[in-house]
């Protein structure tokens, strides 16, 4: 694993991730003002959001359901739970306490299975409210330091969050990336969150430590401000090397919170863990316990759509591609798997459809504009040898451009017809004769040399030759 990660010596990385996701509710966790991103500052406010004297929280039922969905999707036990107050002063935390779940969270003891099969344990997935946003004025680049004042927008205050805490089961930056991607795919699939890291509706903190196998885990640092999946990997890799450097120089790692700076690609000390972190948790007296009944949990469970892993498996079986292949993973991520399957149900070839969709439908959403029947017809033409892969691609472009179209008619209009094998053989022989050097290299084992000969065949046939057949012929002639 360390070789894979490029860690020096036999150092091993240990990572646990804490992911905050904003739930896709209409209103806030404890009040009826809108949960909406991007509105004018301080327009989504009510007495509860502002922490006005006398205001009282009332729990949002839909937030509970979405939090339960997350728990169920992560194979957690959904249990009776309570809310606590976490007391601390910060100007974007209006009541000077955050209502959160403490020793009795809603969801516990689950796991997330990465596409490669690795299980990452989920310790808990609990509900809490978000804080507002502070903007620092007068300093450089909106940073705290050097600011002359700060401005507080409370639109985000009270937005429902679920914090998903993994166990320290992640062993590489790549696994961390896979975890975040898979988690995001799950959250989107179950409608719990739009999970956009760039808008902050999904936020990742990484607890990173290093140790040598057979020794206890090292002192960990918490990395904050990781705002993209790519940064998750970069930040973890940087932090691991920083800690290893310290340890190999005989220094020790200090337990602290560090800030990932996307600009310089480093982590910087944000604050050292101190005794001052005394949050004086106590049971929130303004709320009552939440105890979802078995019937309620069952109803939520029954309403859950298939999860990405199940969908990848399904698509894999239908298309013959591996469940963790790039095509299957990305098409499921885009929510276009049902489309590929529909092509199959309409008599088309799901395998070819997977390739088309993967390559050409990146800009389309989960509901592509092109009728699946048109793609089904196209795959049939290709599979039946009526058009070549190259021609099929050209037809696909036209279908996409027009939002649909009859593949056979387009093929006819373009004068596409696959050249039969005997006619093709003559063209191939000619191409070999024209390029003796390339042929010699190809026969000598240089696979890349084949490209020049295939190119000549395509040129001679104006792209009508089927690349696969040409390749087969060349291999056959090579002997």
């Amino acid at each position: 694993m360390s070789a894979h990660d490029g860690l020096p010596g036999d150092w091993q990385l240990v990572v646990g991730l804490e992911v905050h996701v904003e739930l896709a509710t209409a209103t806030k966790l404890f009040s009826a003002s809108p949960n909406r991103f991007g509105d004018e500052p301080n327009t989504n406010i009510d007495p509860v959001t502002l922490g006005l004297p006398g205001a009282l929280p009332v729990l949002n039922e839909q937030a509970v359901e979405l939090a339960m969905r997350i728990g169920l999707a992560l194979n957690c036990t959904v249990q009776p739970c309570t809310f606590h107050r976490k007391n601390y002063f910060y100007p974007d935390m209006p009541k000077a306490y955050q209502i959160s779940q403490y020793d009795q969270p809603l969801n516990v003891d689950g796991y997330l299975k990465l596409p490669g099969g690795t299980h990452v344990g989920i310790e808990r997935a609990h509900m809490e409210e978000d804080a507002g946003k502070s903007t620092h004025v007068g300093g450089s680049g909106g940073r705290v330091h050097g600011a002359t004042s700060s401005l507080i927008d409370l639109n985000r205050a009270g937005v429902p969050l679920v914090e998903i805490v993994s166990r320290p089961d992640i062993r590489s930056a790549e696994e961390a990336r896979l975890y975040v991607n898979e988690l995001r795919a799950i959250l989107v699939a179950i409608g719990a969150s739009d999970a956009k890291m760039e808008e902050g509706s999904m936020r990742v903190d990484a607890n990173v430590s290093v140790h040598k196998p057979g020794t206890p885990f090292g002192t960990r640092c918490e990395i904050k401000n990781v705002n993209s999946v790519r940064s998750v990997g970069r930040a973890i890799e940087y932090e691991a090397r920083r800690q290893i450097d310290l340890l190999e120089n005989g220094d020790s790692v200090r337990q602290e919170t560090r800030h990932w700076d996307e600009g310089d690609g480093r982590t910087h000390t944000l604050r050292v863990k101190e005794d001052a972190d005394d949050y004086r948790y106590f049971l929130e007296p303004d709320l009552v316990p939440l105890a979802p009944s078995a019937e309620w949990i069952q109803r939520v469970h029954a309403s859950m759509p298939p999860l990405p892993a199940q969908r990848r498996e399904h698509l894999s079986v239908a298309t013959g591609q591996a469940a963790d292949s790039e095509a299957v993973v990305s098409v499921v991520e885009r929510g276009q798997d049902h489309y590929v399957l529909a092509v199959g149900h309409l008599g088309g070839d799901p395998g070819r459809a997977l390739v088309y969709v993967k390559e050409a439908f990146a800009e389309e959403g989960a509901e592509p504009r092109v009728p699946a029947i048109d793609i089904a017809a196209l795959t049939s033409l290709e599979v039946d040898g009526k058009v070549t892969a190259t021609q099929a691609k050209a037809i696909l472009s036209e279908i996409l451009a027009n939002g649909g179209g009859d593949a056979a008619a387009i093929a006819a209009a373009k004068g596409f017809e696959a050249i039969d094998t005997s006619a093709l053989e003559a063209v191939v022989d000619q191409a070999i004769a024209d390029q003796p050097d390339a042929w010699t290299k190809f026969c000598g084992g240089d696979g890349k040399a084949m490209g020049a000969i295939v190119g000549a065949v395509m040129k001679a046939t104006q792209g009508k030759a089927d690349g696969k057949i040409v390749t087969a012929l060349l291999n056959q002639k090579k002997g």
Binding site: L50, P53, G54, L59, F89, F282, D286
Partner: protein, 472 residues
Amino acid sequence: MTTAFDIAAAVRAGTTTATELLAQHLATIAERDPDIHAFNHVMVEQAQAQAAAVDATAALGDDPGPLAGVTVALKDNMCTRGVPTTCSSKILEGWRPPYDATVVDKLRAAGAVAIGKTNLDEFAMGSSTENSAFGPTRNPHDLSRVPGGSSGGSAAAVAAGFSHVSLGSDTGGSIRQPAALCGVVGVKPTYGYVSRYGLVAFASSLDQIGPFTSNVADAALVLDVIGGHDPHDSTSIPQQHPSLVDVLGQGVEGLRVGRITDLPPGADPDVEERLEAAFEALAAAGATIVPVQVPAFTFGLSAYYLIAPAEASSNLARYDGVRYGLRVEAADTNAMYGVTRAAGFGDEVKRRIMLGTYALSAGYYDAYYGKALKVRRLIHDDFERAYHQADVLLTPTSPSVAFPFGAKGDNPFAMYLCDTYTIPTNLAGHPGMSVPYGTGAHGLPVGVQVLAGTLQEPTMFRVAAALERSLA
């Protein structure tokens, strides 16, 4: 025409007007409140508009509601839209809430006229109203003495005839004790009976709103209006409460009235004497007096003064100079918090914030807050056992009659002892009320406390009404 009942009936019948009644009260306030200082703010314009609206409704032949034209004074810890709500604290001085408390909405819908905001011990922390940042309220029966607290202004307002009725809040006795000291009826309902939405929190698991009235029937009438489920308060009991007005005449025959034999000592002889008279009156009215024990009663004070400050330390953390209220400027936000809160809170509030913060802090939680929650359970369970033997319990409300200003000196604990008999009820979540029962030393009013089990307000009111009748 002295009861809210009669007044509402007259306004509904058109024989008097809300405007006329209000004018009388405003005149009385103008004359006597400078001496008494029951009010932090008199809502002249809003009250006149509200009275006019009630009169207009009645003139159209429509029903303005069960409290038509009844003037209500509101403790200044209940939010009133656009009207200053200060909690008698410098930290909220001048703050005008952008919303109304649920009780204010309900009163208005019932035709009541909110007449003003009454003085209190800062953030309802105290038993004499001496802790107000805006000066104390004086007892209408003797201006050299306290009205009790923390709802001293609301108690004094009814006692002085400034309003027909008033609302207070009771966290450890803050309605019942001043009711006793001012010679009026004061009720602390079952926790969850009246919505807390819009009541500025002191200790969330203990606070309840309730009425002050000059007679038991009015208290029943007001509670019938302000009680009931509120979807804005998660701790509000989701059911309709039976009318208390309907039970007043039912008498006490066959009821078991408990005498707590292990009640903590400390009540003055004049108070004990009136309590005995109350037992005798109820026995004469057909009730049976039964001895009961509530062993954990005596631990109420300790549990309360760990739990209430703990919750308060968190509830009062929001006064940070950011969104409303006082700010003392400083170089950075953290420094601003410290100077703002130091300048905005009075000594007693600071003391309780300190005590509560300490009781919750790492390393001390189990020894203090955690332990107090267990004692709370003991107290609750002991009461529940007692209510198997008795339908109601009778105790003194306050250990003494109204005391002179400054009598408790600098010793906070001496003041805390004023609530010895009221606090355990809040911890248990049960209802309790104080009924004026004659006078004691210096001819000052004495109150008797009637306690009952969860949602046993009807029984409690039957007993209170019987006590009242026995004096007539």
